[in-house]
C-alpha cells in the first residue's frame, strides 16, 4: 500500500467504482489461456471435488468426483485433468524460434517455443491448490502396487512447475485472477475483501444500474454468488453431503447414476458463475494496453517452458519433496533479483507506477532548461579527455529531490544512457535545478555532435530515477560447481517406494 493507492481507494470509496492503479497491464495475458476453476472437499488436505477447465469460454469441461473419499476416483480425476492440460501444453510446443544466450565466446543459439502455457485460477488459494495437487501426483509410480496412469505423474510435475514459477512476480505462467485485477484497480474496500472474485469484479465492472459498492456487498452472499473455490460454501456442503450419502446408498446402478448426474449438476452450478467471472476478468484485462517490458518477460517464461519440457523428455525426474539447501539458496537469490527487476521494469513502463517513486524521492521529474553537448572532462588515463555532455533539469515547485550529488540515475525515456547527478540547487520558488552528466547512449558515438534524439532537447520533460531494470543479477556458481563446503553438487531427487504408496485418504 502506498499513498497513491490510498488516494485511489479513497476516491473509489466515494464514487462506488474501482479506480485504475496502472496505465498499462504488467502481466502477459495469453491469446489462449487455460482457465481452471477447482473445488475441493472441505476438511481434507487435497481432495479434488470438481473442476471447470479449458480454453474456450463457451465450453468449459466439467470434471467431478462423485465419491471424493475413493482413492481410485481421485486418480481418475487427475487422469482426466491431465488429458486436458497436457494436450494444451503440447499444443504450445508446435512452433519454435531461435534466440541467443550469453555473450562473446559463450554466445550460443538455442530454440524456444513460440508459445507457453498460461494457467489462470480464480485466487491465491487456487495457486496453493495447483501446488498441492502437483505434490500429490508427481511422485506416483506408474508400475508396481498402487500404479497410476502415466499421465498422472507428468501432470504433477507440470503443476509443480507452474506453482514454483508463480512465486516469481515476473512470471505469467500461473496467475490468480483476483491478484491480477487488484494490481490494476483499487476498490473502495479492503484488500481482504478484494480476494473475493465476485465482489472485486463488482467494483471494477458493476452491473448496469448499480454501483460497485452495493453490487460488491450483494456478491458476497454465497447463495447468490458461490465462493470462487477451492473451498466450498458450507451450506452447499450440506446439500452435497446428502446427495453423496444417497449416491452411496443407491440400491442399483441406474439409481446411482441418476444421483451422480444430480451431483454433477449441483457442482457445475457452484462453479459456472466463477467460470464466467474469470472470462469477464480476462476481457477487462485485455482492454488494457500491455507494458513495454511484458513481451520480454514472457519470452523468458517461454524459455523456461521450453527448457522444462526438454528436461522432462531427457530426464524426467520429479521435483523433490523439499528443496535442498543449495537449490533453496539459488532459488531465493533468483527470487530477490526477479522482484527488484520487476519493480524497476514496472516503473519504467508505467508513469503511474513511477509516481510512487517520485513521492518517496527515489525519482524526480523536471523540464530540460539547458544542455551542454560539447563538454569534455579528464578521463581515467592521464591527459585523456572523455565526452560527457550535461543537461539541466528544472523541477516543479513542490517536487522533492532527496537524491545526493554523485547518485547514478537513469530515465525511462533513454534507458541506455547513464546519468550522474552533478549538482542540486534549490531555487527561490521552491523548485530545484538538477545538473546531470550523461554517459553513453549516443548510438555508439564518442564525440559530438550527439545523434538526433539521443540528447534531450530543451523543453523536454524527463523523469530520472535510481531504479535500474538492467542491473546485473547476483552471481552464484553453477550448480555443478557447488563447492564441497556446501555439500557439493546437489543430487536430483529419486522418488521412493514410499512416495508411490503414499496414502491419499
Amino acid at each position: 500500500m502506498n499513498v497513491l493507492s490510498t488516494v485511489a481507494t479513497l476516491t473509489a470509496s466515494r464514487t462506488g467504482r474501482a479506480e485504475p492503479l496502472t496505465t498499462v497491464r504488467h502481466q502477459h495475458l495469453d491469446e489462449k489461456p487455460f482457465v481452471l476453476v477447482p473445488l475441493t472437499l472441505a476438511g481434507e488436505a487435497c481432495a479434488p471435488l470438481a473442476a471447470l477447465s479449458g480454453t474456450d469460454p463457451e465450453h468449459p469441461t466439467l470434471l467431478t468426483v462423485r465419491q471424493p473419499r475413493n482413492r481410485a476416483e481421485r486418480f481418475r480425476f487427475a487422469e482426466r485433468l491431465a488429458a486436458l492440460l497436457l494436450a494444451y501444453i503440447d499444443g504450445c510446443r508446435t512452433e519454435t524460434e531461435p534466440y541467443t544466450v550469453g555473450r562473446g565466446k559463450e554466445k550460443e543459439e538455442r530454440l524456444r517455443c513460440r508459445r507457453a502455457p498460461q494457467l489462470l485460477v480464480p485466487n491465491g488459494e487456487g495457486i496453493s491448490y495447483v501446488r498441492l495437487l502437483g505434490r500429490l501426483t508427481r511422485l506416483r509410480a506408474t508400475e508396481g502396487p498402487y500404479a497410476v496412469d502415466q499421465s498422472v505423474p507428468t501432470l504433477g510435475k507440470w503443476l509443480t512447475w507452474f506453482a514454483d514459477l508463480a512465486e516469481f512476480p515476473d512470471s505469467g505462467v500461473l496467475l490468480a485472477m483476483t491478484r491480477l485485477l487488484a494490481a490494476n484497480w483499487a476498490t473502495g474496500q479492503s484488500s481482504s475483501e478484494d480476494s473475493h472474485l465476485a465482489s472485486l469484479l463488482a467494483w471494477i465492472d458493476p452491473p448496469e444500474g448499480s454501483d460497485g459498492a452495493r453490487a460488491a456487498r450483494e456478491a458476497e452472499d454465497p447463495a447468490v454468488w458461490p465462493p470462487a473455490g477451492p473451498s466450498t460454501d458450507p451450506v452447499f456442503d450440506r446439500t452435497l453431503h446428502e446427495l453423496m450419502t444417497r449416491y452411496d446408498e443407491a440400491s442399483d446402478g441406474r439409481g446411482r447414476e441418476a444421483v451422480g448426474r444430480q451431483i454433477d449438476r449441483e457442482l457445475s452450478g457452484q462453479m459456472l458463475p466463477t467460470w464466467r467471472l474469470m472470462w469477464r476478468g480476462v476481457e477487462l484485462l485485455r482492454e488494457l494496453p500491455e507494458g513495454a517490458h511484458v513481451p520480454g518477460r514472457w519470452a523468458l517464461d517461454r524459455r523456461w517452458f521450453s527448457e522444462y519440457a526438454e528436461y522432462l523428455e531427457a530426464d524426467g525426474r520429479p521435483q523433490a519433496r523439499r528443496d535442498q539447501a543449495v537449490r533453496a539458496a539459488r532459488r531465493l537469490a533468483r527470487l530477490e533479483d526477479a522482484v527488484t527487476r520487476y519493480e524497476a521494469q514496472r516503473a519504467y513502463d508505467d508513469p503511474l507506477v513511477m509516481a510512487e517513486y517520485e513521492l518517496t524521492g527515489e525519482a524526480f521529474t523536471g523540464t530540460v532548461t539547458a544542455r551542454d553537448g560539447d563538454r569534455f572532462i579528464p578521463g581515467e588515463r592521464p591527459g585523456s579527455q572523455v565526452w560527457r555532455p550535461t543537461i539541466t533539469l528544472r523541477t516543479g515547485t513542490d517536487v522533492r529531490v532527496d537524491l545526493a550529488v554523485g547518485t547514478e540515475v537513469k530515465s525511462p525515456a533513454r534507458p541506455g544512457q547513464e546519468a550522474r547527478i552533478l549538482e542540486v540547487k534549490r531555487e527561490d520558488d521552491g523548485g530545484h535545478a538538477v545538473v546531470l552528466q550523461l554517459k553513453g547512449g549516443f548510438a555508439r558515438k564518442r564525440t559530438p555532435p550527439a545523434p538526433p534524439g539521443t540528447l534531450a532537447e530543451a523543453g523536454e520533460e524527463l523523469t530520472y530515477t535510481t531504479l535500474n531494470p538492467t542491473a546485473m543479477p547476483s552471481a552464484l556458481p553453477d550448480e555443478e560447481n557447488t563447492p564441497w563446503t556446501h555439500g557439493g553438487p546437489p543430487q536430483p531427487y529419486e522418488p521412493t517406494d514410499e512416495d508411490a504408496e503414499e496414502t491419499w485418504e
Partner: protein
C-alpha cells in the same frame, strides 16, 4: 453445551444477557478478543455470554460461518483416531517422533468425573491430579480433556485443551489435535498460528492452576505438542512448537483488556442484549458499545458485518485496511480526507502533514494518468 460460568448475584452482565443461557468462554473466543483488544463491543458480548451468532441474526446479519459436514466428519474421525485405544497413536508418536521414553501408558479421561460432566467438578479433579503428578505422588502419561480456568476481563473462563502430557522432558505439555494436514513437514501457517494462540491460552491457564496450587511453574513447558495428519493420510504427525512469543503477546493483550463490567456499567440502564428482545432495542444497545472494526474481523467475528456497515456509515478509515488507516494519521473519517483532497476543508495543524502528502499524491496521480 451447558455452562457453569460463575456469576456474582448482582451481575450487570448477566442482566444484560437476560434469561438466555450464557455461552461459555472458549480459547478461540479469547484469542479473538486479544486479536482486537480495543473492541469493547466484543469484550462485553463475550463476558456476558451472549450468543453472538443469534444476536447478529436478530439485528439482520445472518453470520456466514458454518461448518461443513465433511470438515466436521474429518475432524471427528481424526480425533477419534488419535485417541483410539487409550491414545495408542499419540503414544506411538511420542515414542517415535519425539523419542520420549514411555514406560507406562496411564491415561486418565477427564471428560467426566464419576459420570458427571459438570465443568467445575472436572476442573477440581484436574487440579487434584495435576497437583499429585507435579509433586511426584502419582504418574499419568496423558490427561484426556482436562479443565482449566483463566480470568478474562474480570470473568472466569473454563477451558478444555485436548490433552495434557508431562512425559516430554519431564515437563507438562499442552497437546492440541487439529485436522489440517502437515505436508512434507509443513502445515498451513495461518492454521498453525491460530492453534499456537489457542495453545498459549491453555498454557497460561495451566500456569494459573499451578500458582493456585502453590506448585513451581518451571514444570510447565513453553512448547506445545501439535498433532495433525501427515501428508495426505490420516496418520498422526506431531511437532513441538515454541510458544514464548505467543505467551508474551497474550499476557500483554489480556492485561490491556478493560474489565468488561466497567465497560458494561457505562451503558444506559435500559440497555439489553437479550436475544429475545426486539431488533430496535438490541441495535441501540449494541450501538452504545464501541466497536473497533477492521477488515480482519470478517474472518472470525459473528458481528463483523454489522460493524462493517456501521464503519461504512461513519466512513472509518480502518474499514479500508491498515494501509489506508496508516496513511491518514489523525484523520478519523475518509470523508474528511476527501474534503482535504478537494480543498473544501482546511486541515488542522495535526493533520496538515498527512493532508499535504495526500494532496501531492492526488496531484501526481492526475498528472501521470493523463500522461499515458
Amino acid at each position: 453445551m451447558p455452562s457453569q460460568q460463575s456469576e456474582p448475584p448482582d451481575n450487570r452482565l448477566a442482566r444484560l444477557r437476560g434469561p438466555q443461557p450464557p455461552q461459555p468462554y472458549t480459547a478461540r473466543k479469547i484469542t479473538a478478543l486479544t486479536a482486537n483488544p480495543a473492541c469493547a463491543r466484543r469484550a462485553v458480548l463475550d463476558a456476558a455470554g451472549v450468543d453472538k451468532a443469534l444476536l447478529a441474526q436478530r439485528v439482520g446479519y445472518e453470520p456466514r460461518f458454518g461448518q461443513s459436514p465433511f470438515a466436521l466428519a474429518r475432524e471427528q474421525a481424526f480425533h477419534g483416531l488419535v485417541k483410539w485405544g487409550s491414545y495408542a497413536e499419540l503414544i506411538r508418536l511420542l515414542r517415535e517422533q519425539l523419542s520420549v521414553p514411555v514406560a507406562e501408558a496411564h491415561v486418565t479421561d477427564l471428560n467426566e468425573v464419576g459420570g458427571n460432566t459438570a465443568l467445575h467438578l472436572r476442573e477440581r479433579e484436574t487440579r487434584r491430579l495435576i497437583t499429585h503428578v507435579a509433586s511426584g505422588q502419582d504418574v499419568r502419561l496423558i490427561l484426556d480433556r482436562p479443565v482449566l480456568t483463566l480470568e478474562v476481563a474480570g470473568q472466569t473462563a473454563y477451558l478444555e485443551p485436548d490433552a495434557l502430557t508431562h512425559r516430554i522432558g519431564g515437563k507438562f505439555h499442552v497437546v492440541l489435535i487439529r485436522s489440517f494436514a502437515a505436508i512434507d513437514g509443513q502445515a498451513n501457517p495461518t492454521a498453525v498460528a491460530e492453534a499456537a494462540k489457542q495453545a498459549a491460552v491453555y498454557v497460561l491457564a495451566l500456569h494459573h492452576a499451578f500458582e493456585t496450587a502453590g506448585l513451581p511453574t518451571e514444570q510447565i513447558s513453553h512448547e506445545f505438542l501439535l498433532v495433525c495428519p501427515k501428508d495426505f493420510s490420516n496418520r498422526p504427525y506431531g511437532r513441538l512448537i515454541d510458544l514464548r512469543q505467543e505467551l508474551d503477546a497474550l499476557q500483554f493483550q489480556l492485561s490491556r483488556l478493560r474489565r468488561a463490567e466497567d465497560l458494561a456499567a457505562q451503558l444506559p440502564e435500559t440497555a439489553t442484549l437479550d436475544t429475545a428482545r426486539s431488533a430496535d432495542e438490541l441495535s441501540s444497545s449494541i450501538e452504545a458499545l464501541d466497536a473497533s472494526y477492521t477488515p480482519s474481523c470478517l474472518s472470525f467475528c459473528e458481528m463483523a458485518r454489522y460493524c462493517r456497515d456501521e464503519a461504512d456509515g461513519c466512513a472509518s478509515p480502518a474499514r479500508l485496511g491498515s494501509g489506508v488507516r496508516n496513511d491518514l494519521p489523525g484523520i478519523d473519517s475518509t470523508r474528511t480526507a476527501l474534503d482535504y483532497l478537494d480543498g473544501v476543508a482546511a486541515p488542522g495543524e495535526a493533520e496538515a502533514e498527512a493532508a499535504a502528502r495526500l494532496r501531492a499524491a492526488a496531484r501526481l496521480r492526475r498528472l501521470r494518468q493523463g500522461a499515458a
